[in-house]
C-alpha cells in the first residue's frame, strides 16, 4: 500500500490528510492518473514529492517511500 500525504486545498477537498492506494509500486504519472480517476482532483498543476524531493513523471513510487501531493506553493 502507498500512503500519499495531502495538504492545503487537497486536504480539504479529499477530506483526508492521507490517501491510501492498494498498489505496491507505480510511476508518478500513473499515480496521478489513478488519483484523477478516483477523486475529483485537478492533477494538472500538481507535483509529487517522493521522500521530500520533487519527482519526475517517470520516477517510481514504492511502499517504502514517503509520498506527498504538492499543489502550487504560496509561501513567503
Amino acid at each position: 500500500m502507498i500512503h500519499i500525504q495531502c495538504f492545503a486545498h487537497l486536504r480539504e477537498q479529499t477530506g483526508q490528510d492521507t490517501i491510501t492506494l492498494d498498489q505496491t509500486s507505480l510511476s508518478v504519472a500513473e499515480l496521478l492518473a489513478e488519483l484523477s480517476a478516483r477523486y475529483a482532483i485537478e492533477t494538472e498543476s500538481l507535483m509529487v514529492a517522493i521522500n521530500e524531493e520533487y519527482a519526475a513523471p517517470e520516477d517510481r513510487v514504492s511502499e517504502k517511500d514517503r509520498v506527498a501531493l504538492i499543489p502550487p506553493v504560496s509561501g513567503g
Partner: protein, 152 residues
C-alpha cells in the same frame, strides 16, 4: 538555520544566526501580512506547510546561494498557522562580507521560496476564503521540476 515554526518569529534570533566576524553586512527580508491586496481586504491568513520537505527545500535555497555567493551565510524561518495583519510570516537573513551580495542573495531567496518551498497560504476575506497558489503560473511537469525554474 532553516526552520518551519508555528510560533511568532523573532527577527533578532534569525539575524543572530548569520552574524559573524567575516561579515560586515546582514540583509533581512521580513514578510508580513498585508491588509489590502488589489483592493481586497484580508482579515487573516493561514499558512500550512509540509514541514520536513519545506525545511529541506529551504536548505536547498541556502545551498544555491552558497554556489552563487560563496561568502554568504543564510538563515530562514517561516511560520505556519493562523496569522493576523502585520504578523511576520517569514524572515530571511543573509550575511556577507560586502553588502551588495547580501541584497542580491536575499532577494534570490525570497523568489525561490515562492517557487519551490511546500508552504501554502489561505486568505480569509470578509466574503470568503481561498487557498492561494499558482501565482507564478508554473506548469509543473512541462518545465521539469520547479528547482530548475530561474527567478525572474
Amino acid at each position: 538555520m532553516y526552520r518551519i515554526t508555528s510560533q511568532p518569529i523573532e527577527v533578532e534570533e534569525v539575524t543572530k544566526k548569520v552574524i559573524r566576524p567575516e561579515a560586515g553586512a546582514v540583509v533581512n527580508f521580513i514578510g508580513t501580512v498585508r491588509e489590502f491586496t488589489k483592493g481586497k481586504k484580508t482579515l487573516s491568513l493561514q499558512y500550512e506547510a509540509y514541514p520536513e520537505m519545506a525545511e529541506k527545500q529551504l536548505k536547498k535555497i541556502g545551498d544555491e546561494i552558497k554556489e552563487n555567493w560563496p561568502d554568504a551565510v543564510t538563515a530562514i524561518t517561516h511560520r505556519t498557522g493562523k496569522l493576523a495583519i502585520s504578523d511576520i510570516a517569514v524572515v530571511i537573513a543573509v550575511s556577507t562580507p560586502h553588502r551588495k551580495d547580501a541584497y542580491l542573495a536575499n532577494e534570490y531567496a525570497i523568489e525561490r521560496i515562492k517557487q519551490i518551498v511546500p508552504i501554502w497560504k489561505k486568505e480569509y476575506w470578509e466574503d470568503g476564503e481561498e487557498w492561494i497558489g499558482d501565482q507564478l503560473e508554473k506548469t509543473p511537469y512541462s518545465n521539469g521540476e520547479p528547482g530548475e525554474v530561474k527567478p525572474s
